[in-house]
Subunit: 232 residues, 2 copies
DNA sequence: CGATCCATTGGGGAAATCCCGTAGGGATCA
DNA sequence: TGATCCCTACGGGATTTCCCCAATGGATCG
């Protein structure tokens, strides 16, 4: 069981190669990493799957029904796909996946970052159930480490940083947004900070603009998601 | 941000025992788990540290300066404490910790859940630097797994569930709150869902009440944090 | 030393939200 | 079969937010 240090190299090609090496060293068929960024909600990913399967997956928008994605992003611990055998979406996706030689036996490892970013490292292996149990136990620690390092590497990279850039709110804007998120009115915030409610409104407006929000509720939602503030 | 010793509650004795077993099986001196809940900001924890050290830590509110806590909760990957050698807070805390036989050589493993909950599993070991490097490499996978499972267990437990309970919004309330968080006005939402804007307002009101929010922005913030909705 | 950004305050008016009610139909459950 | 909750809808009025405008002092930066 070998682990490659990603902190040394961090380009996109290296990441694809890393997944391939992960498959070899951990004796698995396929590995896939998906990142759901909290700002756009888009999903970016790398996978060792056949190109045709990747395209089909995207065309049919399977990420909306695939429980190895939708359920796993809600989990804390790694999720074995055996949990999804009674899931209709699972059947839909993996009856199609079987045509591409992709097993319905796998594991999804979620990783969360401080900005609401969620990474998902999934691996599959076609083998007997008993063998799978043993393999899973053997590699789960390494998979956890690999998932965390991979996600960390992706989040530090420039390509993703551009997509998930956190708007630089001024300290005052942050402060006021924080109070608004705590359920205070603009008038209240003015009293709390000993400034005019007009000033509060101005800061709130510029915060909305910087966050690309049309309304204050939307701005609060985005700021919470981006970990700029925490709701009271 | 208060410190709460969870091991005092009788129902959680097995968790303290788990940490002790972790120490033995992974050949480490001490293990500590801390949970920062996103609502109160309070810190709940278990530790194998001497009782006197736990008390002193709480009395002096070290959780505000201790970089093994403050820095690690911002990290994705596990953090080796060697990174903190030039940190003033680190010196403050660990010059005091040394009196209790606690090494300044350790590792902090952060874990995040879908509700903004952050768990931190930290371990220490007093030994030579080379030996530490080897040990760390050997146990880091197991530590990751242990941290995730421990955090998952804590979050599922009743003691914490009471503190972080998720209010059951109706599907309609969720739907409307989702649109509001996407920057739509009540009028817009009424048009989108083909219902009266008055009805939208009613749902929004009951959503606020269920979330214990005084204003709509606060309700959106909380709903986002609770992963009931995702901001547009 | 200008340029730029930030924090601050203000007015006027349009728009939206919020709070106080009421009320019927449908689903679920003890 | 009542009880309870959800979804739907409406009104009036008070409150709040939002958007247009303009202005001053301070800090920072090239």
């Amino acid at each position: 069981m070998r682990l490659i240090d990603l902190s040394l190299s961090a380009s996109d090609e290296d990441r694809g190669a890393f997944l391939s090496e992960l498959c070899e060293s951990l004796e698995i068929d396929h590995a896939c990493y998906a990142l759901q960024d909290p700002f756009s909600g888009n999903v970016h990913g790398y996978a060792t799957y056949p190109e045709e399967w990747k395209q089909l997956y995207g065309q049919r928008a399977y990420q909306h029904v695939d429980p190895t994605f939708t359920k796993a992003v809600r989990s804390v611990a790694p999720v074995d796909w055996s949990r999804f055998t009674s899931d209709s979406g699972f059947d839909t996706v993996f009856s199609a996946a079987r045509d591409f030689g992709i097993s319905s036996q796998g594991l999804s490892v979620p990783v969360r970052g401080p900005f609401g970013d969620i990474g998902l490292l999934t691996v599959t292996r076609d083998c007997g159930e008993r063998e799978w149990q043993g393999l899973r136990r053997k590699i789960i620690g390494g998979l956890q480490s690999a998932a965390v390092n991979f996600h960390d590497s992706v989040m530090r990279s420039n390509t993703i940083a551009g997509l998930m850039r956190v708007p630089p709110l001024s300290s005052r804007e942050c402060e006021i947004l924080q109070w608004i998120a705590a359920g205070k009115s603009q008038q209240d915030v003015g009293d709390i900070l000993s400034i005019s409610p007009r000033t509060v409104e101005v800061h709130l407006r510029s915060a909305r603009e910087k966050l690309g929000a049309l309304t204050t509720p939307q701005a609060v939602g985005r700021a919470v998601r981006l970990a700029l503030i925490s709701p009271g």
